[in-house]
Subunit: 406 residues, 2 copies
């Protein structure tokens, strides 16, 4: 099988490295050799051991020998156009491009189905953690009901630094950038957009119907403070940024936001740059997947696993069970119920909140003198807004985070 | 697709329940209906909604309409003969029978390959946790190097009771039996045989070469005491029964034994009847799978996932990469290095053990008055035996457990 790679960045060069260094074991596993015959990148790599670089996409598109293309360029322009043309030309495509899959997955999968080829994207979520394939193969017999995942290593590193080292958000972000865990422009990570694309992909696969990431209410971690961390700890919890979705009648809820998890929650112990994804099914119970969610080689190894899967079963279209989206399928997020943590400052005391279903926490120390935190019972977003409008009217709200209790 | 079920116990009836209750979603996922047309069991089930019971295996074997058989009888007699005949007759077989896969997997997989059909066994390890399929699909691009897993829920429940509740082994076992987590005859669980079959299957798949479970050195948890639990806790660890294997040059190590894991090890927090499997690969880093390792519905859901996989790709033989075993492939377990915990009683004191690489722990309380524990540096089994023969000659050895440090 002759293949091409589009994009020779960290993932692309990792793919090249794994394929060229494991020729023998790949041949044993696939039944045939995998040969990289073309690499598209606008940059020059004079020192690379590969001598097949090109700057012209048409060299790949028009090369009839190439049966499979690895797209690891990122972004949608020109990746979307390139992928579409390759699939229409009957070439399999494997990608790590979560943005493209989240945005155009439905269309690209439809072309692959019509052409009896494959468009696979194991590497788009969770780096080397096998999570995409289990959703369309191992877990298919289950009516899956819930997905909740720590899907972004950068923000998990930042939150872990805040929780374990007492670093402020700004300090932790600077540390993440210094360690190469965060980009110079960290917006996509800290605002939750990266997590949002990933939960959109997981939800589309797990529940079988396309969910547009742009319709998912998304909140990042930029407003999380050390005080929030302290109240959460006193409550017996930790703050994590999660993507989550829940199947309900005729639809689903999906959301990205920071949440407080009790310490015995399976995701609570997932620290630093690690990712963890918890999947619940009716027959299945809880299953969790855990590992390093990013990095050149883990992500590249997920790409290569898709390449191998295709080479092993070349003439088979792998059925993913990801169908068209539907108006109204994604429900109003304000109708989903949560418990809420609210940090309050005000002249009146906390006595009125000390009633059934509520927890009130006060902390020692001067900086906590005029404030307290209340953990509400479960309420919908609408009920919570009403609660704020009436009972919290006299307070200054300094922080507000949902709780995940199951 | 018309299918048969052999064995209508907890798993078999779970398979029947899932398939009959999810007809519509199965049809959507597979592209065709799945119909149970025959169930083999020697018992009568007059109250069952299924009316297709038979006591005669030939009813299934000779029924040309049946394309796939679910074997959930357990044991090797008559499951081995039945499975072989079905595969030779060109029928796909899906099983949860770890004993049969561990013993005759190589032969049965070869027949399936020759007949261009499938013999799949996702349910044989880890209940509903998808671990088998990732090993032959998602993780194939990795040169996997290590597997370590808590693979038996019964023993994990017993050890958790000892660690968290201070129950003795006997009390915890009785509790497990009362809760239905342990059989009346718990030998296969507590002596590690069940774990042994599972690590044999995982190792055969992950490293690509058949490993006979009978060649794996296996030690259970019957000699673990509350004193061992205490010393481990003081050292910052917990005792878990694991199956583990490690790829080395031209072969592999494999072993089942109780080990002490430091509390920050990913498997250390896996408690009660849960299973967890940690897989390491060169490119991949660590990936962990976690979930309920047994139970009627989780296990049945894993069986059904294999059924679906076959129905979706009926004419494809799925390549597992499990090849014949090889003389000398499994290395002498005494050549693998571990740190050791040893609980010692004797007239001389612990001073001689207080040296580089050793940890000595003494506990308060009268019952610990004449004893102490030493944690050795890494040594091979041979070196450890020599250490016992020379330096520990003057002591009564009351407990001995390996440490897993990475």
């Amino acid at each position: 099988m002759k293949i091409a790679i589009m994009g020779y960045g960290v993932v692309g060069s990792g793919v090249g490295e794994i394929i060229s260094s494991s020729q023998e074991s790949l041949k044993k596993r696939c039944g045939e050799e995998i040969e990289i015959v073309s690499i598209l990148d606008l940059r020059d790599f004079p020192d690379s051991s590969f001598k097949c670089f090109t700057k012209d996409f048409n060299d790949i598109l028009s090369n009839d020998e190439i049966g499979l293309v690895v797209e690891v360029m990122g972004g949608t322009k020109p990746a979307y156009e390139f992928t579409k043309q390759l699939l229409l030309a009957g070439k399999h495509v494997v990608t790590s491009n979560k943005e493209l899959v989240a945005k155009h997955g439905t269309e690209l999968l439809k072309i692959a189905r019509e052409k009896n080829i494959n468009y696979l994207f194991e590497a788009s979520v969770g780096g080397g953690i096998p999570i995409i394939r289990p959703l369309y193969s191992s877990l298919v017999s289950n009516e899956l009901t819930d997905i909740i995942g720590i899907l972004n290593g950068t923000t998990n590193y930042i939150l872990t630094q805040m929780i374990k080292e007492g670093a402020s958000f700004e300090e932790a972000l600077a540390g993440a950038q210094a360690n190469g865990y965060a980009e110079k422009d960290p917006t996509a990570d800290v605002e939750g957009y990266d997590t949002c694309r990933k939960i959109a992909i997981l939800t589309s696969l797990a529940f079988g119907k396309y969910v547009n990431s742009e319709d998912i209410e998304t909140e990042g971690i930029t407003s999380i403070t050390l005080e929030d961390v302290e109240y959460a700890a006193e409550f017996g919890g930790v703050i994590k940024l999660v993507g989550m979705s829940k199947r309900v009648e005729n639809g689903a809820f999906a959301r990205v936001c920071p949440v407080i998890l009790k310490k015995d929650h399976p995701l609570a112990g997932i620290d630093d740059v690690f990712n963890g994804i918890l999947v619940k099914g009716e027959a299945l119970g809880d299953v969790m997947f855990y590992g390093r969610g990013a990095g050149s080689l883990p992500t590249a190894s997920a790409v290569v696993s898709d390449v191998i899967d295709i080479v092993k079963h070349k003439d088979t279209h792998i059925i993913l069970g990801w169908t068209d989206g539907e108006e109204g399928y994604l429900k109003d997020p304000d109708e989903q119920s949560f418990r809420y943590y609210v940090r309050l400052c005000g002249s009146s005391d906390s006595a009125s909140m000390c009633r059934e279903g509520f927890n009130v926490i006060t902390l020692d120390g001067e900086k906590y003198a005029n404030e307290f935190a209340v953990f509400t019972p479960e309420m919908t977003g609408k009920e919570f807004n009403e609660f704020k409008r009436t009972e919290l009217a006299g307070y200054d709200i300094r922080g507000c985070i949902r709780l995940v209790t199951e």
